[in-house]
């Protein structure tokens, strides 16, 4: 078996473990402590932020403008509107600024 195949299969097993693991561990507890609950409530925002923040750190004016517009649009519109607005600003500014 090639190294590539080995990496893919091991990566898939590791990924599946992360997707089922939280449930297997947490379901052992009868009642969820309010602090654990508060922590779990924070999960999506906390995690997704880490996928944005470092990208913003190394971003140029086009990227920062796209993120800013995306935030503003998301206050009113839905996810798709926000995504298209951000992408449009990004493409336009890269076109004109480079």
């Amino acid at each position: 078996m090639s190294t590539t195949l080995w990496i893919i299969i091991a990566g898939a097993v590791a990924t599946y473990l992360t997707r089922i693991g939280g449930h297997l561990v947490i379901s052992r507890f009868e009642r969820i402590h309010p602090r654990v609950e508060a922590g779990l409530n924070a999960v999506p925002a906390a995690v997704l932020t880490t996928l944005v923040a470092p990208a913003a750190l190394s971003a140029g004016p086009a990227e920062l403008a796209a993120l800013a517009v995306a935030v503003l649009v998301s206050l009113r519109g839905g996810l798709m509107t926000m995504f298209l607005a951000g992408a449009a600003v990004l493409i336009a500014m890269r076109h004109f600024i480079g």
């Binding site: 893919i8 999960v43 999506p44 944005v52 998301s74 995504f83 076109h95």
Partner: protein, 249 residues
Amino acid sequence: MSSVTMSDNTRMGEFWRGVRLSIPVVVASAPFAILFGALAIDNGFSVAEATLMSATIYGGASQLVGIELFGQHVAPWLVVLSIFAVNFRHVLYSAAVGKRIDHWPFLKQAIGYFFLVDPQYAEAERKGENGEEVTFAWYMGMALPIYVFWVAESALGALFGRLIPNPHAIGLDFLLPIYFLGLVMSFRKRPRWLPIVVASAVASMIAYKTVGSPWHVSIGALAGVLFAAAMPVRPDETVSADDTAEVVS
């Protein structure tokens, strides 16, 4: 109002409601699937391997990190560990979504967890918070189109991706952060959303500069979660359906 009993009709209705929710995700993830396919070939994967990776791992960010490290000839165990680190957030999704789907039979749960990607988790959580049952039909209605398109577009990207003349000009490299930012914003009605986001942002940026990628994901996430858990518990801050109502896109 839907009836309490689950007829084939309501099951189909649930399935199609799920399918409808998958549409924006299918559209938004298409560039990333194609990008992944193209980059995988660039980094020494075959078309079959790129497709297999999408079909078995099914996690865009981790796949992109994986092929990038593979292309840099990093040790295989470190590539796998990085995939695990990027996907570690799913442990938290899994713990949170577990209480919504633990009435499913075992096999359906085992299948359901395989498809537990970011938007799938977000929509399941939203449905649960609105007081609706998270049904297997609804869940798979959303999951299957996203999965099928993800795998197919990865293959297409691998086959044709290098025909894209200038990926930078069409913003391919930065669409992912914009999309994730939208997901972050959709949770803004939750308790202490802003300080949690700030804590995660600062921690992940520091980790990115010091420890390095991909650990900034786990470290940043942990910072936000620990911050939320450490704050005093206030009874008036429980998440209600109203808080998330306007999130629907």
